[in-house]
């Protein structure tokens, strides 16, 4: 019953904030508070948006980037979450591999580019590889940390009821950290989107990240901003989708308030 006004607030309030933001942007460019070359105006951005749509490029770029992000992210979720669960459960393994994982966690996708090319050539594959490299380690690490801080009582109960191996993993460890895994997935999904710009540096001929490079190469700040806006909005929407996971009944306990 209380859902409806809450839902409304969830939509209306952000709208207001966005409007205020647009207004500030508009005033800055309208009153020339900063030189024009420092900040493209809304009108320019809208115009270049229209151009891109008309050229049919935009839809294609969106699909291409979504595809790369999704594939890379899904692969790292499929590998990273189980890896994190597994490492979290085995103390010695965790000690052994944490530094290694941490090491790789700190490496920029930009630094991986030459290797991406050497191993995966150009096109979609290196982009997917870069997204994978950027999201796998944070996801595994967060899952691992979450597992390591599961209240010990749950493991005691699990032991009492003879949960072992895979069953322990799927019936106890996984659901116990699911709320945190969802949060970690949202964070790493963010990283995946952030990396798309670096990933599409590598010989891609389409995609939103490529669009930004292209715009920069073409000295079109307005087009670059258009692509930034699209990346931001798409990411936002996808995050909204992911956040629906927090409404699952068996994770509600993790978001108590």
């Amino acid at each position: 019953m209380k859902q409806t006004p809450r839902k409304k607030a969830e939509i209306v309030l952000p709208m207001i904030v966005i409007l205020i933001f647009l207004l500030i942007w508009y005033s800055i460019t309208y009153f020339k508070l900063v030189p024009a070359y420092q900040m493209p105006g809304i009108a320019d951005v809208a115009k270049s948006f229209k151009e891109e749509v008309m050229a049919g490029r935009l839809a294609n770029d969106v699909i291409a980037s979504m595809w790369r992000v999704t594939v890379g992210f899904v692969i790292s979720a499929i590998l990273g979450i189980p890896a994190g669960l597994w490492l979290g459960q085995h103390t010695r393994l965790r000690y052994a591999l944490t530094p290694m994982f941490n090491f790789f966690r700190f490496l920029s996708p930009l630094a991986w580019i030459p290797f991406a090319i050497l191993w995966f050539h150009i096109g979609d594959k290196p982009a997917v590889f870069l997204i994978f490299m950027a999201t796998f380690f944070p996801l595994a690490m967060s899952t691992m940390t979450a597992v390591a801080s599961i209240p010990s009582i749950y493991f005691r109960v699990a032991k009492d009821y003879n949960y072992k191996g895979t069953e322990l993993l799927t019936k106890v460890t996984f659901p116990a950290v699911l709320p945190q895994i969802i949060t970690a997935m949202r964070v790493s999904y963010g990283i995946a989107w952030v990396v798309i710009v670096a990933a599409e540096m590598v010989g891609c001929q389409d995609g939103l990240g490529y669009g930004i490079w292209d715009a920069r190469n073409g000295l079109r700040l307005d087009t670059a901003v258009t692509y930034m806006v699209i990346i931001g909005v798409l990411g936002m929407l996808m995050d909204r989708l992911l956040s629906q996971l927090t409404k699952l009944r068996n994770v509600r306990w993790g978001y108590e308030r």
């Binding site: 070359y37 420092q38 580019i113 030459p114 090319i117 050497l118 191993w119 050539h121 150009i122 540096m201 590598v202 010989g203 001929q205 490079w213 292209d214 920069r216 190469n217 073409g218 000295l219």
Partner: protein, 334 residues
């Protein structure tokens, strides 16, 4: 907020990969000039070195960048007021209304079409259906290769073009991700030295007196400190003349500036005088007219501008003598 907690050491820091012994104390003025570590921009570090080792009135500090868009942004923000840049991009910048002028050239030639060693090809036509990498749509390489394709009766989409950052080109070629590329040195020599690529065309085979990069100067600097600009253009001209005749020394000089392998630079500069040249750096109208025409045809530029609109020849010296660089002062960093 202090951004340099190690200011104590900053003097040392400034020196770290610079081969001279510090700024020329006689010179009252100084100017930062932007460049990328490619042989097309070789005259920039040479001028830097020359300004500090010979008697000049301006200290030129060369600042290395990683890519052209960043250079452009720095120029717009007036963080550098003079820089080397690919020619069509400079024209585009001018067309967009940025207050910049082309004052001089950086080099002649200096680019090659490199193909994989195992590809049997003698002309562009043999590359039909293959993938060729270019550094940017706004590069002269892009314009020229399309011109060449047209000359050889090919359709624009007979070759797959991909845009790649030049440092990734040899890597891509080695991985067989691409079949060839057209870019400035030393990225071509690298593939040759690695034994993975061979030269299909030298730039001069396609277009005699090819230029890819020019010296771009902010108009404010031209207005406020014409003497400095004059010094700069003369410095580059004299450096060019010196480099033309002291190729091995130039490679040795530039290697630490570029932080590149001296062997590769040496190969570029000395293996054949046809690879790159630093003579005749005075631009001609015809050349630029031709670049502009091609760029308009490619849709890179919108409208034809009078040459004088983006070119400023006032600073080009009448007589050019080689910079008296003390060869013995070039340290051997390798």
């Amino acid at each position: 907020l202090r951004f340099h907690p190690w200011s104590q050491k900053s003097a040392v820091a400034d020196k770290k990969d610079v081969v001279h012994e510090g700024p020329n104390n006689d010179a009252r003025r100084s100017l930062t000039v932007g460049y990328l570590p490619v042989t097309c921009h070789l005259t920039c570090p040479v001028t830097d070195f020359a300004s500090k080792t010979t008697k000049t009135s301006t200290n030129f500090n060369s600042q290395r960048f990683t890519d052209f868009p960043t250079v452009v942004d720095a120029l717009k923000a007036k963080q550098v007021q003079a820089t080397f840049m690919i020619a069509p991009l400079a024209m585009k910048l001018r067309e967009d209304g940025a207050p910049v002028k082309i004052c001089y050239l950086g080099h002649r030639d200096g680019s090659e079409i490199i193909i994989r060693k195992d590809i049997q090809a003698t002309s562009l036509r043999d590359l039909k259906g293959k993938t060729l990498a270019l550094p940017s749509f706004y590069s002269n390489q892009n314009l020229v290769i399309h011109k060449l394709m047209e000359d050889q009766g090919m359709q624009p989409n007979d070759i797959n073009f991909v845009i790649l950052p030049p440092p990734d080109m040899p890597t891509s070629l080695a991985a067989k991700a691409i079949d060839g590329y057209f870019v400035g040195e030393p990225h071509c020599a690298k593939a040759e030295l690695l034994g993975i690529g061979k030269v299909l065309y030298l730039a001069r085979d396609i277009w005699p007196n090819f230029v890819s990069c020019v010296l771009v100067v902010h108009e404010d600097l031209i207005k406020e400190k014409p003497d400095v600009v004059k010094d700069l253009v003369r410095g580059i001209a004299e450096s060019g003349k010196w480099a033309e005749d002291h190729r091995a020394e130039a490679a040795k000089l530039a290697a630490p500036y570029f932080r590149q392998d001296q062997k590769v630079l040496n190969y570029v500069l000395t293996s054949s005088p046809h690879r790159v040249s630093y003579a005749q750096l005075t631009p001609t109208d015809a050349e630029f007219q031709q670049i502009q025409d091609m760029a308009i045809k490619m849709g890179i530029l919108k409208k034809r501008l009078p040459i004088s609109d983006y070119m400023d020849r006032d600073f080009i010296p009448q007589t050019i003598v080689a910079a008296p660089i003390p060869v013995d002062k070039i340290p051997d960093k390798n």
